[in-house]
């Protein structure tokens, strides 16, 4: 058994932007995920963080082939998962399960908890007779901290935290190796968030699970993860162990992100130095040239940043960063400067080099 469970190689997901009625011409692409490499070791928790629109959820979905990746592959436990087809793929899916963000919309409101949990067991021929199945269901519920009376209830009868527990039980039912949790706690109140975070940790110890946790909240990710990858506009900009990332962020974006998170302690808050990023996230349909972050980077240099896309390189053992000037920034040789915010057009998603030809609607086609 090798140590690496999941290996993602140069994964790309580009969504076509279509225009026109008759021909569905593709006029551009949204570069949601644009070349990501990562490895997840057996038994660890890998946290993927980034702001909305950075492609973290798309990456998670592409790994599970809920969206087909445009390029790149994922190797799961030595097998090329992206090349699997039909029955083989279906069988393999048992080993990779997912927990979704919104527990209410990811549970069928007309299915009882029993039926939700049993569905996966049946699909994978794990339903071996009434008695053993009902024992298994009880085990599952007690593992996620729900009473066995929950079996006959429906999702609307539970609170948000309990619904998320049902979602987790459903993922656990098939004895998976990897659980991909996409924003597992962001829809919950803070006091309940902690319950679910602790539950995920306990289950990992109990069943030896491997997690990929996708979240926007760096504090949650730091708490739950062994290693963390930070994404910005479709690419990984930094990857390190959770402690290293917090103690010594090397990428300018990670620094800004860490400094932006409020800490519930006035003493810390008063002392903190904030790195405020200018402007908004550029559109992933028209990403900046070179380093994707250079339009907002306070450490931006005159050369290389806007022309050459930095690759993820290992600066220290286990600590990778995609920045041309990471060493100089860390040593203080390059100091931050003022950045003028650049206008980001909402809805202006097309790259300007694509000529717009042909009708854009039926009316336009009929009355040229």
């Amino acid at each position: 058994m090798s140590e690496t469970l999941v290996s993602v190689q140069d994964m790309k997901v580009h969504f076509p932007i279509k225009r026109g009625v008759f021909m569905d011409r593709t006029v551009g692409y949204v570069y949601a995920v644009d070349g990501v490499d990562l490895e997840i070791k057996r038994g660890e928790t890998y946290g993927l963080v980034g702001e909305s629109g950075c492609g973290k959820s798309t990456l998670g979905r592409a790994m599970l082939r809920l969206n087909e990746p445009t390029a790149g592959k994922m190797v799961f436990d030595g097998q090329d998962f992206s090349a699997l087809k039909g029955e083989e793929l279906r069988k393999m899916r048992r080993r990779i399960q997912m927990v979704f963000q919104d527990p209410l919309s990811s549970l069928d409101p007309r299915q009882s908890v029993e039926s939700i949990l049993i569905e996966g067991l049946r699909a994978h021929d794990l339903d071996e007779g009434k008695e053993s199945t009902s024992k298994r269901l009880r085990e599952l519920l007690s593992a996620v901290g729900l009473p066995s009376t929950a079996l006959r209830k429906y999702p609307h009868e539970f609170s948000g935290g309990q619904r998320q527990r049902i979602g987790i039980a459903r993922a656990l039912a098939l004895n998976p190796d990897l659980i991909v949790a996409d924003e597992p706690v962001s829809a919950l109140d803070v006091s309940v968030q902690a319950q679910v975070v602790n539950l995920l940790e306990e289950l990992q110890d109990q069943f030896g699970l491997t997690y990929l946790v996708i979240a926007h909240d760096l504090a949650v990710v730091k708490h739950i993860s062994d290693r963390v990858g930070v994404m910005y506009l479709g690419g990984l900009v930094e990857e390190a162990t959770a402690e290293d990332l917090y103690a010594e962020p090397l990428h300018p974006y990670t620094r800004a992100l860490l400094s932006a998170i409020p800490v519930p302690d006035p003493v810390v808050e008063d002392r903190r130095e904030r790195i405020l990023l200018a402007g908004d996230l550029p559109s992933p349909a028209n990403p900046p040239s070179g380093c994707r972050f250079h339009t907002r980077c306070p450490w931006r240099q005159a050369s290389r940043c806007d022309t050459e896309r930095p690759a993820l390189r290992e600066l220290k053992p286990g600590h990778k960063v995609a920045c041309h000037y990471a060493e100089q920034i860390q040593s203080g040789e390059i100091q931050p400067h003022e950045v003028k915010p650049i206008l980001v057009e909402e809805g202006d998603t097309l790259s300007p080099d694509i000529p717009l030809v042909g009708p854009a609607s039926v009316t336009e086609a009929l009355n040229p």
């Binding site: 702001e51 909305s52 901290g145 609170s159 948000g160 935290g161 309990q162 109140d189 803070v190 006091s191 309940v192 968030q193 902690a194 319950q195 975070v197 602790n198 926007h216 760096l218 504090a219 949650v220 730091k222 708490h223 739950i224 959770a242 402690e243 917090y246 800004a256 992100l257 860490l258 400094s259 932006a260 998170i261 409020p262 800490v263 519930p264 302690d265 006035p266 003493v267 810390v268 808050e269 008063d270 903190r272 904030r274 405020l276 990023l277 402007g279 908004d280 996230l281 003028k340 915010p341 650049i342 206008l343 980001v344 057009e345 909402e346 809805g347």
Partner: protein
């Protein structure tokens, strides 16, 4: 005298064929001129309803509001609709959570800003346009001349929130109420908006009521903090005191359940058991008792009174002794 004095504010929603629901249950707090006051709590604690009641934005039918909200000496709850309309936007500004749904989608940003200036300050359109441009500039919207002519959907979330702040501050109100102004935004944008609000409030001397569920936001911004639970203020203190020594088990539990960026590795979170659904009515008990690790028999038999002790206002029979760790979670 305080700028805003909320006394015993109670909002009861009457529902046909159902028990009336007390969303806000005797909330009192003061806001001094230029002060920033926080209202914190989880969903359903009544923080938003409190702000809507102060602004007179609750429906007349269905919501029964009692108590007093005196602003500069006048009771806002006794004003007529017409008088209240004159004050909203002029004396009291408000910023809501979702900037897209609080801006009019079919009116250009510029017109939405000048509308306030024309209505309350009687400015002619031309003058108002120039003022509007200055306002957008002040809240950090690049290229304001162009943005004035654009519609809300053409702006990003952060820019929309800035535009909303510009509208709220157009008449230099003495009081600004911000209801979860950054919850819909990303962290880096949240940091921008919070630092902008801090700056503007300082420059204009505006008092701010900050409503949020995020204790981190409160820690950096507010002078005084009110922690709400089940429609009542359970703990009220100056921020340094509150965060250094939370005495109410709920405040204490909330702080222990938040993962902190500066926590030591491997530190466990201590959640509060159960959920808001477990609450019991305040009428003859403490609503938090079923979830409280410190609960005594008296907590289920008697409503705790709001008393001033330990250098703060506290509504608890058995406050937390500083230094004790939060109780371990009992699986439900």
């Amino acid at each position: 005298m305080a700028l805003l004095e909320v006394r015993d504010l109670t909002v009861v929603f009457q529902r046909k064929g159902e028990e009336p629901f007390r969303a806000v249950d005797g909330v009192s707090f003061d806001v001094e001129p230029g002060q920033t006051v926080g209202l914190v709590g989880e969903s359903g604690c009544g923080k938003s309803v409190t702000s809507l009641a102060i602004m007179g934005l609750l429906p007349k039918r269905g919501a029964k509001i009692t108590g007093t909200v005196s602003y500069d000496g006048t009771d806002l709850l006794k004003l007529s609709d017409r008088e209240m309309r004159d004050r909203r936007g002029r004396d009291l500004g408000m910023v809501f959570q979702d900037p897209l749904s609080s801006l009019n989608p079919v009116v250009p940003i510029g017109l939405q800003v000048t509308e306030v200036l024309e209505r309350h300050r009687g400015m002619p359109r031309k003058e108002a346009m120039i003022e509007a441009k200055d306002l957008l500039d002040k809240v950090g919207i690049p290229d304001p001349n162009r943005r004035l002519k654009e519609y809300p959907h053409q702006l990003s979330g952060g820019m929309r929130q800035r535009a909303l702040i510009a509208i709220a501050l157009a008449c230099r109100p003495k009081l600004l109420i911000a209801d979860e102004p950054t919850t819909a935004l990303d962290v880096t944008i949240q940091a921008q908006i919070l630092s902008l609000m801090k700056e503007l409030v300082q420059d204009l001397g505006t008092a701010l009521v900050m409503i949020t569920h995020d204790l981190g936001v409160v820690a950096g911004l507010c002078d005084e903090v009110n922690v709400l639970y089940g429609g009542k203020v359970v703990e009220k203190a100056m921020r340094h005191k509150l965060f250094a020594e939370p005495r109410h088990p709920y405040t204490h539990g909330l702080l222990a359940s938040i993962p902190r960026l500066d926590a030591a590795p491997g530190e466990k979170l201590t959640p509060i058991r159960g959920s808001v659904a477990d609450n019991i009515p305040w009428t003859s008990a403490c609503a938090f008792a079923p979830r409280c690790p410190n609960a005594l028999d008296v907590c289920r038999a008697e409503t705790p009174a709001e008393v001033e002790k330990l250098g703060r206002l506290l509504r608890c029979h058995n406050p937390v002794v500083p230094g004790t760790p939060a109780a371990e979670e009992v699986p439900v």
